[in-house]
Each structure stands twice: as C-alpha cells, then as structure tokens.
C-alpha cells in the first residue's frame, strides 16, 4: 500500500500550478465576468498545449494516457486559482467518456477517436450534459455536447442545439439549459453500455468537483490566514485570538482529512470503475463538508470585509457554493453511501475496512437517480 504520489505526478502538478498562478489572477477572473464568453482563449490553448484536455485520452488518440489519479492533483490546482475555464469537468467527464467509447467495440468508436484527436490538439472541445446536472457550464464554447436520452449517449454538435442561458450566482460560470432533439445519427451508445457510461461519467465528474473544492478551500484558508494576521483589533492581530485561530485550524483539519479520501476515490475510479460509486460519494461528501466549512469560517474571520464585492474572497466562495451542488449534491451522495451500507449483502466489519476491492459485492445498489 502506498498513499503517496510519484515524483512525476508532483512535478507535473507543479508545472501546471506555476502556469495557472501566473495566468489566472483575481483581476483576470473579474475581467472574464464582463467578457462575452467568459473564457480566456489564449489560456485555453496553452492548457491544451500542455496536454491537459487529453490527459485521460489514450495515447493512440493523441492523449497522454494518464489516469484519474494524475488528474485530481491538477484539478486541485485549478480550484486553487478558481479557474473559470471548464477544464476539469470537460476533461474528467466528457472527454473521458468519449475515450471510453473510442476504446470500445461500439460502432461510434472511430468517430470518437477522431474527435479525441481534435480535442488533444485543442481544435475541438466537448462538454457533458449529464442527467444529474440541470445545466451545462460553458456549453456555448464547446464544439460538442454529450447528452442523455434515457440511457442513450448522444454526441451532438453545439450548433444544432438551443442553449437557454441562465445567470449563475458565480459570475465565472456560464450555465445553460440545453434543448435538443435526439436522432439516430447522434447516438453513440445505448442500453446497458449507455447506462454504464453515464454512471462512470458521474463518478469522474463528482471526483473532479471534490478535488477542485479542496483547492478552492485551501485558497480561502490561505487568504483567511493572511487577513487575520494583518488585520488588527484591540491592538493586536485578530488572528492572535483563539476564537479565530481555532476556526481556521478546524478548516485545515477537515481539508487534510478529505485529501486521502479523494485519492482513494480516484484510485477506485482508475482501477475498478464499476465499483467506485461509494468511494466517489464519500469523496464528494468529505470535500463538500470541508470546503463549505472553510467558506463559512473564512468569511467569518474577514468580518464585514468578506461581505463586499470588492473583496476577492467572493470569487472562491461563490465557486464553492455553486459547484457543491453539481454532479450530485451531498444528499444524493449520502444516499448512495447509505444504500450500500444498509444493503443486506453489505460487507461490514473490521476485516472489510481495508478490503481490496473497497466496495460491496452487490453492484445493483448503485443505480441512477438515487435521491
């Protein structure tokens, strides 16, 4: 057993983190809020050049052929800078879904391979309109959309759909509802295979959110530490008070405890995807709890300043609030956990704490739409 990341994984993360911290600043994010498309096209290309869009794409299709375990480290960094570009959700959910089809025996495999090659070079992008989410983020800047019709998976050109734009409470997000008509020509999978594709997309999507939440929250925590060190009341930094310090210490504790849960879930998704539901749900719940706690306390220790539009804290807070409810809210994920715990066949007891497959034998408990 080894819970640490490899040297390579950490180096790649540091490279990405360095780029992101230069290119994505609070000011540049605020500039996106008032721009037409809400994304920085240069940065999007740079990220594609680094292979990030196609990180999970097999090498045969021009991707890096890496795994979810590699990606969560990067997702965390994207969260840390509150990256508005939909890199994580597109790469983790949509592109990975295409990869699954591309390496299957489905008729659409060839078509998906071609699309993936374009994605790998940054010439195309695909977003996922999963049934769990009522809205798709940045659908208008994606060339393709993966959309559900029952269990069927359709790959649809964005030009052929109606996007009903909505305003998000996080001005960095550009969400819309998708009105569209399924046709034989757009269908790339169906039946049991389709259901499995949606299911693994949900797990990867939720995992991506969990990892981003950790990065977002760590940024908030860092800001809170800096603020409470600088801000003085009663002749000393407000952070000198235990009441303030302990709030932030609690955030650090819950964030650190959420990290191995996310790593464990990524491992399950990468190595036994059909058995990953419970692990992903645990990760989403743990990350959500830690992140929302950090938002609450981070804002509290800022005093009235944290309630202003001017204070950059809102960029991170609003992202946490918004994405917390995507890819299944806490209620949905807790339901998935207790469904397998309370399943009559659940493998309970100390001997199963570190059980190798890490999930109950009965897979029928992880259907869609629970909760």
């Amino acid at each position: 057993m080894n819970f640490t990341y490899s040297e390579d994984q950490l180096t790649y993360r540091d490279t990405v983190a360095a780029l992101l911290s230069c290119e994505v600043t609070a000011d540049s994010i605020r500039a996106r809020w008032t721009s037409a498309q809400g994304i920085d096209a240069n940065l999007t290309q740079q990220l594609a050049d680094m292979g990030l869009n196609a990180l999970l794409v097999p090498e045969s299709c021009g991707g890096l052929g890496l795994s979810e375990l590699d990606f969560i480290l990067l997702a965390q960094e994207c969260g840390r800078v509150a990256l508005p570009e939909p890199l994580v959700e597109n790469a983790m959910a949509a592109t990975a879904m295409l990869s699954e089809v591309a390496s299957s025996d489905l008729a659409a495999a060839n078509q998906c391979q071609d699309t993936l090659k374009q994605i790998a070079t940054g010439n195309a992008s695909v977003a996922c309109g999963h049934w769990i989410n009522p809205y798709v983020n940045m659908a208008d800047t994606s060339h393709w959309l993966l959309l559900p019709h029952g269990d069927e998976v359709h790959l649809v050109s964005t030009q052929t759909v109606d996007l009903i734009a909505q305003r998000s409470s996080d001005p960095s997000r550009r969400i819309s509802k998708v009105n569209w008509q399924p046709s034989r020509g757009t269908k790339i999978a169906g039946g049991q295979q389709g259901a499995e594709l949606w299911r693994s997309a949900l797990n990867r999507g939720a995992l991506g959110v969990a990892a981003q939440l950790i990065g977002l929250a760590e940024s908030i925590l860092r800001r809170a530490v800096v603020f409470t060190t600088d801000r003085e009341q009663f002749g000393r930094p407000v952070g000198a008070n235990q009441a303030v310090k302990h709030l932030l210490a609690d955030c650090a504790v819950s964030l650190e405890f959420a990290k191995p849960v996310i790593a464990r879930a990524a491992y399950a998704v990468a190595n036994s995807p059909t058995r990953a539901d419970w692990a992903v749900s645990h990760a989403k719940v743990a990350a959500s709890y830690a992140a929302l706690l950090t938002v609450r306390h981070g804002m509290q220790v800022h005093g009235a300043m944290g309630y202003t539009w001017e204070c950059d804290l809102q960029i991170w807070m609003k992202r946490c609030w918004a994405i917390d409810k995507t890819w299944g809210d806490v209620g949905f994920h807790k339901n998935r956990i207790h469904e397998w715990l309370l399943n009559p066949n659940a493998l309970m007891g100390a001997e199963h704490t570190f059980d190798k497959s890490g999930s109950p034998s009965d897979e029928s408990n992880s259907q869609q739409g629970a909760g």
Partner: protein, 396 residues
Amino acid sequence: MKLDFSPKDELFRQEIASWLASNLCGEFDVIRGRGGPGDQHMFIDERKAWEQKLYQGGWTCIGWPPEYGGRDASIEEQVIFNEEYARAQGPGRAGHIGETLVGPTLIAFGNQDQKDRYLPEILRGEAFWCQGYSEPGAGSDLANVKTGAQFDDATQQWFISGQKVWTSLARESDYCFVIARTDAKSVGHHGLGFFLVPIDQTGVTIRPIEQLTGTSEFNEVFFDDAQCSVEDIVGEPGDGWKVAMGLLGFERGISTLGQQMLFQNELDEIITLAKTNGSAKNPQIRQRIAEAHIGLRIMRFNSMRVLSSEGADGSLQKESMIYKLYWSSWHRNLGKLAMDVMGAESEVLKGGPYQLNRLQSMYLFSRADTIYGGTNQIQRNLIAERALGMPREPRG
C-alpha cells in the same frame, strides 16, 4: 407564569389584523413582503410612505409610553402586533432604527428638548436614522473610534471629522447617530460623545459599498467638519460609550420579536419549496427542517421570557446576551438549508446583472448576521466574561 393571550389581547389581534387587511393594499401592494434582510434598500419611498400610513393608524412606536405618542403596548400586544404584521406580509420597517433604537435611547438618555424634537418625527414616520459606530479601525474594537468632535465656542457647534464604514442605509436616512471622540487625547471608551448628526449637509459625504449580493445597503460615510448643534449631543461629552451601549441593549429587546416573524416567513417558504420540489422526501432535509422549527420556537420562548422579566427601567437581564449568538447562528444555518432545499437550482439567478431571488438573498445576507452587531466570537467572549464571570482575555 401565564402563557396564554387574554380575551383583551385577542381583541387587539383582531384590531391590527383588520387594519392591516384594509390598509396594506392598493398602492402598498408592491411592498408586501419586501424590504426584509438583504432587501432593505428596496422600495424605500413606498416603505417610508407606509410608515406614515402606519402612524395614521396609530401603529408606529406602539411600545413607547403615551407621553411620546406610543400606546404603552404590553409585551403580549407587541408579540401580537409582530405576528399579525408578519402574517400580513408587512414590508420591512423603514422606521425600524428610529423606533426601536433611537427612540428608546433618547427616552432613556436624552434631554427633554431632544425628545421633543426627535421623537415626534420618528413617531410620524418622517425621519429615518442610521448607525454610525464602525470605522475602518474600529470594528469589534468599537472603543477604538478615531472620529473626532470639536466644540466651537463662537458658533456653539460641534464639528465632526473622521470616517465611518459599513453604515447601513445611510443614503436612505435623514440622521446618523455617531460616536466620536470629544477629548482628542482620550483612548478607549473614555472621552467619547454620542451625536445626532443631520446627513444632508456639505460636511457629510456618503459612498456606497457594493456587497457580494451585488447591491449596496451599506456605505462609507465621511465627516469633514460636519456640523452638529450643541443641543444634539446625548448626555455629556464623555458619556458616549454609556449611551452607545445602552442603545445596543435595545437591539436585543423587543425588536427581536418582529425579526422572528420574518424568520418564520422564511422557514415557511423553505418548507413550501421542499414540498413542491420533492426535497422534503430526503430524510436529511426533513430533519433539518424540524431542527429549524425547533430553534425558532426556542428563540421565541426565550425572547418572551427575557422581555417579561425586563427591568422596570427597560434594561435587560443577562439572559439577553445569549440572544444574538443564537439567532445569528440559527439564521445562518437556515440560509444553508434554503440552498440545500433548492439544490442545483440554488445557483440560478432571477436575472441580470446579479438579481438574486428571495432565498438566495437571504442566504447571502445571513452570512453577515454572524458579523454585524457584534460578531459571534465577540458574543461568546461577552457571555463567558460578563455572564459567566470568567477571566478576561488580554485585549492588546
């Protein structure tokens, strides 16, 4: 102990309910349910006109003594008034600060001339007030105010200079009550004065601060030799802290009842939504709704207990210290519950550029509840040190 309303109380209930039914309509339809927390700056003209309507019906300042135009309403009557007001979706009271904070403070600490000049305007719904306490360097450490007041013998005026911040509703107000240093060499809570300052004058500049809600209820207020007449200091120079703290005591008094009724309306809205969007099927949501209901009842019983043991001079018992911490934490959790009940829809705004729906706006505003009027941390310090008598923390 007597926990029921008397037949006389019930008559009073009928009286206010029927008055509201026949008056909160027509031109006032637009303000039903508006102007609550997070929405306080909206429909301000209509809500000011509504205050005057209330006055004509004899429904402003009902708890004040009759000599100042009040009804000397009993606790029961004030509870009933607030219940019926909320039931009728009465708008957030534009005259709230005047009626519940300034009025009682002037009655307790003001001189006859000040009562004669200011109380009638508040009563008639013609003068509106804001609170000038906080400064950039004086938040939790309120006694660190730097705004200065200098007396000019020649003109018999005080000249006030300095900066206040987070001043809610300053642009909608006629007066600001300001704590300022009358003794430039003083520090801490000594050497302060409590001033009643007219806002509409060249020495006062107001700059709105945009909140994360995209609206601006609060402001920066700059005083640059702002004038305040010799008659408009409450108490003596040096009494400012005593008066300022007295005012905060009233904040925890009767005004809590109206607030609870607003909370009840919010909780009802959340419950209705949970039933319609199906989230009420989720056992976690059901439990939290029950907890919210329980917390609200606890607050109500506690307020009534505290108010019925109120000292003869209107001063509150130690029990009142626990209130701010409890309601603010409760309300912050209610905000979270609202978002969780809304689920994925909680992110969707009503419109551009940043138009929040009621529950979204309540959610964001409730994040500030644990900050203004003494943060949760400061409240806990007060409870531990003042109510329990524990050793004081070092304060710099």
